[in-house]
Amino acid sequence: MSVMTVPPSRRASARRDRAGYLFVAPFLIMFVAMLVAPLAYAGYLSLFREQLIGGVRFAGLDNYIQALSDERLLDGVLRVSRFFLVQVPIMLVLALLFALALDSGAMLLSRVIRLGIFVPYAVPGVIAALMWSYLYGPQFGPITQLAEALGLPAPNLLSSDLMLGSVANIVTWEFTGYNMIILYAALRAIPTELYEAAAVDGAGAWRIAWSVKIPALRPALLMALIFSVIGSFQLFNEPALLQRLAPNVIDSAYTPNLYTYSLAFVSQDINYAAAVSFLLGLVIVVVSYTVQLAVARRRR
C-alpha cells in the first residue's frame, strides 16, 4: 500500500516502527485469544471422539467423514444454500432500487423514507423474529385476520411449504435497509464529474444509473454480498424462535447452526459439533471467496 511514510533517517524509523507493534499488540492479543485459539481448539476437538467405554480417543478424520455423509447436515446446508440463492438477490436488488431512488433526488420526503426503511436494522434479530412470529401466527396474527375478513383462506405461513419464505421475509425486513444505506452512501461518494461527463455524452437518468452508478457500486455490492453469505449460512435466531410455534416443521437440524447447537448442548456430542462447525466455517469461507473471485474476474 502506498501510504507508508518516507523515512527521515533509517534508525529513527526502525525505532518508530517497533512502536507500531505496541499499537497493534492489544488487538492482536485479543484476536489470538478470542478467534485463533477457539478455532484451533475446535480443530483439535474435532479429531477426537468420546466413547461409551474407554473415554475419549483419537479419531483422526472420522468425525469429518461422518459429517460429509450426514444427511441431516447436508439437508441443512442445502436449505441455507437455497435460502441464500433466493433471499439475498431479492434483498440486494430491493436495496439497490431503493438506494437509486433516494439518490435520484426526485423524491419528496426522502429523509423520512430513508430512515423508515433503515429502522428495522435497529431492532434485534430475536425481537424481529418474535414480532413476526406473532404476525404470522394463526391465533391473533393480523395476516390471518385480514384474510378471514376478506373471506379468503388464510395462508399457513408456518407450514413446511412456506416456512423458508417466512424466514426469508424476516431477514429481508431486517437487513434491506442496512444494505440500502451501504449502497446509498457509496452512491453519494461518486464524483459528480462522472455524471456531468455522462450527461454531456447524452446519457439519460436511466443510462447514467446503469452505466455509471451501478459499476461504481461494485465494491459496496461485493461487501454487502459477502456479509449476506456469512449471515445466510449462520442462520439461527429466526428459525430457533419460529421452531417453538412449528416444532414439526423446524426440526433440530433445520439449519446447520441449529444442528451444531443441538449436537453440542442437547446430545452433548462436543467433538462432532466441533467438526460440524469447522466444516460450516469452511463452507462459508469457500463461498465468500468464490463470490469475491467471480466479482473480481468480471471486472477485467
Binding site: V3, R16, M30, L115, T176, F236, N237, R244
Partner: protein
C-alpha cells in the same frame, strides 16, 4: 483501489450532487416508496398497538388497530414487576455488555488500525491480511469452542463471557485502518515527532481526535452487534439475572408458547417488553445517523 473517497463524504453529498442529478420531483416515485415504507413500518406499528392490549383483546380485536381496554400502563407495570423485576436487570445487563464491549472494541480497533496504517513494521501486511481474512470466519462457529475454553477457566456464566469475545472486531479494525489513511496526514505526525512527542502521546493527543468520527462508527456497530447478540449469551449464561434482553424475552416467549398459548398472560409481557427494549436503540440510531452513514462510506467505497 479504484474509487477512493478522498473528499469527506458529507461534502460530496451536498447540494452540488442533487443539482447534477436533476431537481424534478416525481410523485409516482414518492408514492411507490411510501408504499414500500408501509412494509417496513407496519410490524413496528403492530407492536405499538399490541402493547396497549390485554391478553383478551389481543386475541379478539383486529391486530392492526387499537381495541378493548387501553392497557399500556398495566402492561408496562407488569413487565417491570414480573419474576421479581428481572426485566430491569435484563435492560441494565444489555446496556452494560453493549457499552463495555463497544468501547473496548473501538479502542482496540483504533490503536490497531493506526498501527497498521502508519507503521511499516515487519509482518505488517501478513498480520493485517490474517485479520482481514477473519472477517469471513462465522462468529457462531467460534461460540462453541469459546464456551468450552471459558468453562475450563471459569468464565462461563459471568459477564466476561459476553464482553471478551465482543472486543475483537476485525471489520472494525479494517474500517479504522481505512479511516486513518484518509483522516491522519503523515505531515502532522512528523511535526509532532519533531516537537519531541512520544508515539503514544501523539496517538492520544493528535490521532484520537482526528479519528473521532471513525471511532464513533465502530463503537456504534459493535454496540448494535452486542445488543443484538442472542447465540452467544444463550450459550454462555444460565442465570436469568445475567441475561440480556434478547435471551430474557425469548425465554418469556418460550413460556408463552408452552401448552399452545394456554399461558397467554405472558404474551403481553413479551410484546410490551419487546417494545420497551427497542425504543432506546431506535432513538440512538436516529440521533447518530450521521456517523453510521459516514462509516459505511469508508468501508463500502474503498477496496
Amino acid at each position: 483501489m479504484t474509487v477512493t473517497a478522498t473528499a469527506p463524504p458529507r461534502a460530496t453529498a451536498g447540494a452540488a450532487h442533487s443539482a447534477a442529478a436533476g431537481r424534478r420531483r416525481s410523485p409516482v416515485l414518492t408514492l411507490g416508496m411510501l408504499a414500500v415504507l408501509v412494509y417496513f413500518l407496519l410490524p413496528l406499528f403492530w407492536l405499538v398497538v399490541a402493547a396497549t392490549k390485554t391478553t383478551g383483546a389481543l386475541f379478539s380485536s383486529f391486530g392492526l388497530w387499537f381495541g378493548g381496554d387501553f392497557a399500556l400502563a398495566a402492561n408496562v407495570r407488569n413487565v417491570f414487576t414480573a419474576d421479581g423485576g428481572v426485566y430491569v436487570h435484563w435492560l441494565l445487563n444489555t446496556a452494560m455488555y453493549a457499552l463495555v464491549s463497544a468501547g473496548g472494541a473501538a479502542l482496540l480497533a483504533a490503536l490497531g488500525g493506526y498501527g497498521f496504517a502508519k507503521f511499516a513494521f515487519r509482518g505488517n501486511r501478513l498480520l493485517f491480511g490474517a485479520v482481514l481474512g477473519a472477517i469471513m470466519v462465522p462468529s457462531t462457529a467460534l461460540v462453541i469452542p469459546t464456551y468450552l475454553i471459558f468453562s475450563n477457566v471459569g468464565l462461563v456464566n459471568t459477564p466476561w463471557a459476553i464482553i471478551l469475545p465482543s472486543l475483537v472486531n476485525p471489520f472494525g479494525l479494517y474500517l479504522m485502518r481505512v479511516y486513518v489513511e484518509e483522516a491522519v496526514p503523515d505531515s502532522l505526525l512528523e511535526a509532532a515527532r519533531i516537537d519531541g512527542a512520544g508515539e503514544f502521546r501523539i496517538f492520544r493527543q493528535v490521532v484520537l481526535r482526528l479519528l473521532a468520527p471513525g471511532f464513533v462508527t465502530v463503537l456504534l456497530f459493535t454496540l448494535v452487534a452486542t445488543w443484538n447478540n442472542y447465540f452467544l449469551p444463550l450459550i454462555m449464561l444460565n442465570d436469568p439475572s445475567l441475561y440480556p434482553v434478547t435471551v430474557g424475552l425469548a425465554n418469556w416467549a418460550g413460556r408463552a408458547s408452552v401448552g399452545g398459548g394456554g399461558t397467554g398472560d405472558v404474551i403481553p409481557l413479551v410484546v410490551t417488553g419487546s417494545l420497551l427494549s427497542i425504543i432506546p436503540l431506535v432513538a440512538a440510531f436516529l440521533m447518530l445517523q450521521r456517523y453510521w452513514q459516514n462509516g459505511l462510506t469508508a468501508g463500502g467505497v474503498k477496496q
